[in-house]
């Protein structure tokens, strides 16, 4: 592979690979909000032990509590698409990793169900009237559920990359990686989820503030605290994520390094660095101004999207060093021959229009005549 991702592959392979990466980014954007949001709620609850209901109603926390269940729904729904395309792209590599993870993989869904219902409990007013220890326990379990799911996907990825160890993993049940490797890798994603969450939450708070002003419901004073908190979390997350990423690159195989720093990954490495720079610059500016601004939020959003796409491509570059994707090119070409793409495109257009209509209905279809 001597060309930038995904140009070194046959058309069908590149096509499915791109679809996989793009839908993966969409899924991750939502999942980052849920993961970082639940960790953020846990941290603030731990650090503000005497505060209860009033604290939970503070705009930043209230917005998180309100939106995490929906964003989790969105993450699960958006996750169906990369789950579909990864099966076409990696075929038996993906299936075998699933099978070798076995019970760890099978409990992902029950764990997510527990986590999901707990997000509704966190959203409810009732939890915040309960004793401090109960609140902390609920939030810790909620966060742990999502961290565990992240661990399973990380493990799945690592096993898929190590085909030579599969027979041994099967017979011994021992996963073929060290905890250090998993922790460093997970740190990239865990810390990296904060900047994404901060961008989405930043927009939510920005519009919330605007609506409050329009409705003469003054929340002044809250936005400054929120802006500083978001800036700290975003910058902190980016710094830790970059450091963990650099550490991870040190420990990966030479062939993976070759792809990351070579023609395949280098453009994305550079664009990713630019994305990180944009985000840090934008958040520092907003921190100094003590307020969220439309322009700067636009900057950090562009930076965040660029970073997410680039890190997802680099993640695939590491995998491509271990998996001979060209050997599956015939299967990709065969998959590309089946019909239905036109139906999908048509449905995508119609559904997009209907989604816009739904949003429009919420904005304009306010009550005037309900008796």
């Amino acid at each position: 592979m001597h060309s930038a991702f995904p140009f070194g592959f046959p058309v069908a392979t590149a096509f499915y690979l791109v679809l996989y990466v793009l839908t993966f980014v969409l899924h991750h954007a939502f999942m980052h909000y849920v993961l970082a949001g639940s960790l953020c709620l846990t941290w603030f609850t731990l650090s503000q032990r005497r505060e209860t209901v009033a604290w939970a109603e503070q705009p930043l926390l209230a917005t998180l509590r309100e939106w995490i269940p929906f964003l989790l729904s969105a993450a699960i729904t958006a996750g169906v698409a990369p789950l579909l395309f990864i099966q076409i792209v990696y075929q038996h590599q993906f299936y075998t990793a699933n099978l070798l993870l076995w019970w760890r993989w099978m409990i992902v869904v029950p764990v997510l169900i527990v986590g999901f219902y707990l997000t509704y409990l966190v959203k409810s007013h009732r939890l915040w009237t309960w004793p401090y220890l109960v609140r902390v326990a609920v939030l810790l379990v909620t966060s742990a559920c999502f961290v565990f799911v992240g661990f399973c996907w990380t493990a799945n990825h690592l096993i898929a990359n190590r085909g030579s160890t599969w027979p041994e993993v099967y017979t011994t049940g021992q996963l073929p990686f060290t905890y250090t490797e998993v922790i460093v890798r997970m740190l990239v994603w865990l810390a990296g989820s904060f900047p994404t969450m901060c961008v989405i939450l930043g927009w939510q708070l920005f519009y919330r503030e605007r609506v409050s002003r329009d409705g003469a419901q003054n929340e002044l004073g809250q936005d400054a605290w929120g802006t500083r908190a978001l800036s700290r979390m975003a910058i902190g997350g980016l710094v830790v994520s970059v450091l963990a990423g650099a550490t991870y690159i040190l420990v990966i195989e030479a062939s993976a390094k070759g792809l990351v720093f070579g023609n395949v990954g280098r453009p994305y490495l550079m664009m990713g660095a630019l994305g990180v720079g944009l985000q840090i610059g934008g958040w520092i500016s907003m921190f100094r101004q003590n307020r969220l601004s439309l322009l700067l939020l636009g900057f950090v959003s562009a930076g965040s999207l660029t970073t997410l796409v680039c890190i997802s491509v680099l993640r695939e570059a590491v995998r491509l060093s271990a998996v001979d994707l060209l050997s599956l090119a015939d299967l990709h070409a065969k998959a590309a021959e089946v019909g239905g793409f036109g139906v999908f495109l048509l449905a995508a257009v119609v559904v997009s229009l209907l989604i816009v209509w739904c949003i429009q209905l919420v904005r304009t279809g306010t009550t005037t005549s309900n008796a």
Partner: protein, 471 residues
């Protein structure tokens, strides 16, 4: 040749049973969500037109149930099915994805619409005008029914691929012979489930008096009226099934017939109660009765899904893939090479096996039997073969597709048949440390002749009729 995957052992549960359990729960919840969309539209219309002053309150209460049950459990068990299907038969899910991924992607777009319209209604309905609320509900109902429409085509293709086998056209595969009866049947089931959940929800609305509750229950019962079509749709579906599959359901397999009867019996009980109690308004449906009817509906759904899954035997995709993930065209070559030759995976607890022949037998069992059987648990081979002597066991396994017509042909060589026989005998005698190796050339030759007689094709369902016709 299909890829050889590592196989996990679920102890006394066979993987197919784990898959069935997840699938039944998901189908029940998903169909409730589909019907729920229509029920909500109906009640919103009742509210808008002033036909029932409590309908608005019902819509709010019911939608909370949809969100808390369907959006969480329904969505996640849907992912669960996918992950479980990979555990049970990656080759099957792989074939489905390869052939229908654009339709699955299309279904995904409707999932997105469901989530957006559903949450928009859930979050903002209190401040929306009636028309906007109705539009959101209609979009939600339409999107959820479209997801049923699409997945129904993919699932029914597994049983009746129809002309797709020759043309490989996605249109032929999707609009296969059982597509329409299955779609209409599932739509009626969805409406029924929604109506029954409506009765439960109404009983939970403590602010309403009994008369108001009765009126709402009677309205919800209107969704049970299409149940009258179930016998016709059921017969249509049976007629669309391949003759051999139909024969298992109609008596050929006691288990499948029993489950079909459970499904019919439960549906009749619900339908009867609906007519007398709710439509004719002779009975009041309290919370306990409504819950019991819903439980019966779960039983009917479970029975129906069991029959639908079971009637595909010996295939997981008819004429494409056997339930043990071996392709029909592969059997002949596996008879030559053996099914264990290219299996890279050793055995867990390798030391416990008495000798290499038993080990080979365990691997044969794992590859060919374990998806539908256990040794001592559910659908246990130990019990199924318990009364057979050694030669009978050898012959029945070698001629497997003729021994039981819903079994696939044995896809291995004579040594592997013998290894499987030895493994089963060794397992039946509680895993002794010492076990003699059975390598009598005459025995192997006998097995080879049985394998040859059996051939490599699927058992001919009509063979006995043909035998009777010819002297």
């Amino acid at each position: 040749m299909t890829h050889v995957f590592p196989v996990n052992d679920y102890g006394p549960l066979m993987p197919g049973l784990v898959m069935g359990a997840v699938a039944i729960v998901h189908v029940f919840l998903a169909q409730f969500a589909v019907g729920g969309g229509f029920l909500l539209c109906y009640f919103q219309w009742l509210a808008m037109t002033g036909r029932d002053r409590h309908a608005r309150q019902f819509v709010e209460g019911y939608f909370k149930v949809v969100v808390l049950v369907s959006f969480v459990l329904g969505a996640l068990t849907g992912v669960g099915i996918w992950l479980t299907a990979i555990q049970v038969s990656p080759a099957t899910i792989g074939a489905m994805v390869d052939n229908f991924h654009w339709l699955w992607a299309t279904e995904w777009t409707f999932f997105c619409l469901e989530i957006v319209s559903g949450y928009a209604f859930y979050r903002y309905h209190a401040r929306l005008n009636d028309r906007a609320a109705m539009t959101l509900l209609a979009i939600y109902a339409g999107a959820s029914w479209m997801s049923l429409f699409i997945i129904n085509g993919i699932l029914s293709w597994q049983l009746t691929p129809g002309h797709w086998l020759e043309t490989r056209s996605i249109v032929d595969g999707f609009f296969n012979p059982s597509f329409w009866p299955s779609l209409f049947f599932r739509t009626v089931v969805s409406l029924t489930l929604a109506g029954l959940v409506g009765c439960v929800v109404t009983n939970l609305m403590s602010t309403l008096d009994r008369d108001a509750q009765r009126r709402l229950i009677n309205r919800a019962a209107h969704l049970l009226i299409p149940m009258a079509l179930m016998p016709v749709l059921g017969i249509w579906f049976l007629l669309a099934m391949p003759p051999d599959s139909r024969s298992w359901v109609l008596g050929g397999s006691p288990a499948m017939m029993l489950f079909l009867n459970i499904s019919i019996g439960a549906s009749l009980a619900i339908g009867g109660y609906a007519i007398i109690g709710m439509v004719m308004q002779r009975l009041y449906i309290n919370g306990a009765t409504a819950s019991l009817l819903l439980l019966l509906a779960f039983g009917a759904t479970a029975g129906g899904e069991f029959v639908r899954e079971g009637s595909r035997k010996p295939y997981s995709i008819r004429n494409v893939l056997y339930s043990n993930a071996i392709e029909p065209g592969e059997v002949e070559s596996l008879r030559e090479t053996g099914c264990t030759a290219h299996d890279p995976y050793g055995l867990r607890n390798d030391d416990m096996y008495a000798n290499d022949q038993v080990r080979m037998g365990a691997k044969v069992f794992r590859r060919q039997c374990s998806v539908c059987h256990t040794v001592h648990g559910t659908n246990a081979v130990a019990e199924l073969t318990g009364s057979w002597d050694n030669d009978q066991m050898r012959m029945n396994i070698a001629k497997l597709q003729h021994t039981k017509p819903f079994m696939p042909p044995f896809a291995g060589n004579a040594e592997e048949v013998e290894a499987l026989v030895q493994y089963l005998n060794w397992s039946n005698r509680e895993h002794p440390k010492e076990w003699p190796v059975s390598d009598d050339p005459q025995t192997i030759a006998k097995i080879e002749s049985w394998l040859k007689q059996a051939g490599t094709l699927q058992g001919d369902f009509e063979q006995n009729k043909k035998r009777t016709a010819s002297p």
